[in-house]
Amino acid sequence: MTTTSSEVEPAKQRGQPGQARLLGLVSRVRELGLLAVLLFIVLIVGIQAPRFLSINNFVQILLSVAILAIVAVGETLVVLTRNVDLSVGSMVGFTAFVTAYFFKELPHSNLLLGILLGCALGLGLGMINGLIVSFGRVPAIVATLGTLYAYRGLVFIFASNTTSQVNASDVPGGYLALATTQILGIPALILIAAVVAVIVGYFLHASQSGRQLYAVGSNPEAANMIGIRAHRLVFAAFAASGLLCGLAGVLWGARFGTVDATNATGLELQVIAAVVVGGVNIFGGSGTVQGAVLGAVVLGTLENALNILNVSQFWLQAIYGAAIIGAVVLDAFITRWLQRAILSRRKKA
């Protein structure tokens, strides 16, 4: 009797880390697979159109996904906790418009002040999301669907009381330069996105709160039992998503110069596509920042490749949709395959 129980016990204990290891394995396989897909696209398109392979074109691709990547990093934090933030497009649109308007009205003000204003506005909007979700107990999908509408409505109210459109000629060159400056030959926009990704990635990987985010997402009850304050973490994740949307909005205004109340509409689709393609589990608990960034880069590369191959831009949205569905289908198959592999190895042992 004692022998059987001593045999059963360790097996049970192995069961739980096994699950976590499985999720970790899935995301590692996913990231490597995604890299392979990226290389495959680059190779195929490069053979068809050699100019696709120029350094200049790669910089163009990275420039086009820098803002998307920043928002996707914030979305990753939220999705890891088993929530979703659908209001990102409206938050970026809101901060882009307000920041551009600020620089139009006060062209001689300090550049940093405007950036901080945009980030603070984003943080505020994200905190409202967090309050509604974690303290109002409203499901994230409902809450952020609501704020997607509401924040966009606020942009329109703001625009109807001020100006319908801010043009690139209205804002000081210093603001626009945020998107065009180069540091050591690398565009600042790309550097900013990279710094954000590295900081948040390191935080998730190494800090206590970062690990707790994974715990909350993979098993909320267990996280609660070991004393993790899930409410605060979820609130913080939404606030961080808002803050990064604020930063993205500031950069959006600088990159495009001309902004109206509809800017960044529908961005949430691309962001969720990037996150899901990047292997972040929509049910929380697994996924990485580098995965989400890689997802954004793959989508940007696809868009660029369509351009270079002269495929109609009308295909773009359909390809985004197919990429989202393809990614989750692939996830399902990889998980099943790994599960089977682990099971059969255990049986042998």
């Binding site: 109002g136 409203v138 689709l269 359909a318 949709g321 197919a322």
Partner: protein
Amino acid sequence: MKRLKSLLMSWEALLVVLLLVSIVLGAILSPYFLSGFNFYALTSNIMEIAIMALPMTLIIIAGEIDLSVASVLGLSSVVLGLLWERGNPMWLAIGVALLVGLVAGLLTGLLVTRLALPSLVVTIGGLALFRGLAYVVLGDQAVSNFPTAFTNFGFSPIPGTELPWSGLIFIILALVFVVVLHFSRLGRQLYAIGNNKEAARFSGINVSRVKLVLFILSGVIAALAGVIFTARFSSARPDNAVGFELDVVTVVLLGGVNIFGGRGSLLGVVLAIFIIAVLQNVLGLLNISGDIQSLAIGLLLILSVLGPNLARRIQVVLARRRLAVGSSKQL
């Protein structure tokens, strides 16, 4: 007595009050509100959303969601337009448009049931995919030279009434859905699935098949809404009804359906449809732009869940305090 009290305290009762208040407000704020023509305008404006809300109610009660409905609407609309422009008879164009909806729903349903994928992600993918295909089919073109019989169906009320033809379709569909959800075995199964999928499966319900049917139904009805939308604007464009999925989900949740499944009624959803219709209409009569109306809808959506949550919490706090006071008195 207790039953009467629970009836008066129900979400549906609150919705009735809300609807009455918004109608009274509308009548006070605008002299045109109570006119027959305004009733026609108000109804025909919301009918596509209303029709799509019926299968959405069933899907959400069963614990899933379909965010691709507006894109299926757009895709069926451009398929209809393209076939008509290429010289096909109207009945064939409409038939193929509905078939497109069926295939879209089948694809979503198979992905959700066979591969056990989350419907939230699958249908966000479908939202992009089907809208994208609509652009692929028609580009930035629009088809608008539809036959008079078809546009009359979209433009004018049923002779002798102020009810649009789409309103009649909605009434018939709503009756069918009420019977299915509230008076049939399938309806009970939906609640069972939404409350506890595993338990439902163990009690012999074919969960996969029920869900597959729901998604196919949702696709076909979204395509039907696409036909109605095309007739109403006499225009088939790839960007038809962009963003309508949000309105559909909003009316269903405002109607008291639980986003996690298992709870809700079609009565509540129908009431919510008319509350939104009246609100949009009144704001429109007051010359408040559609974009600001979206602020009102967004707030309403959040409040419809936040309100009951907060009320429940306050009740708990009050009950505790009463308990504390009661025990201190005893001492």
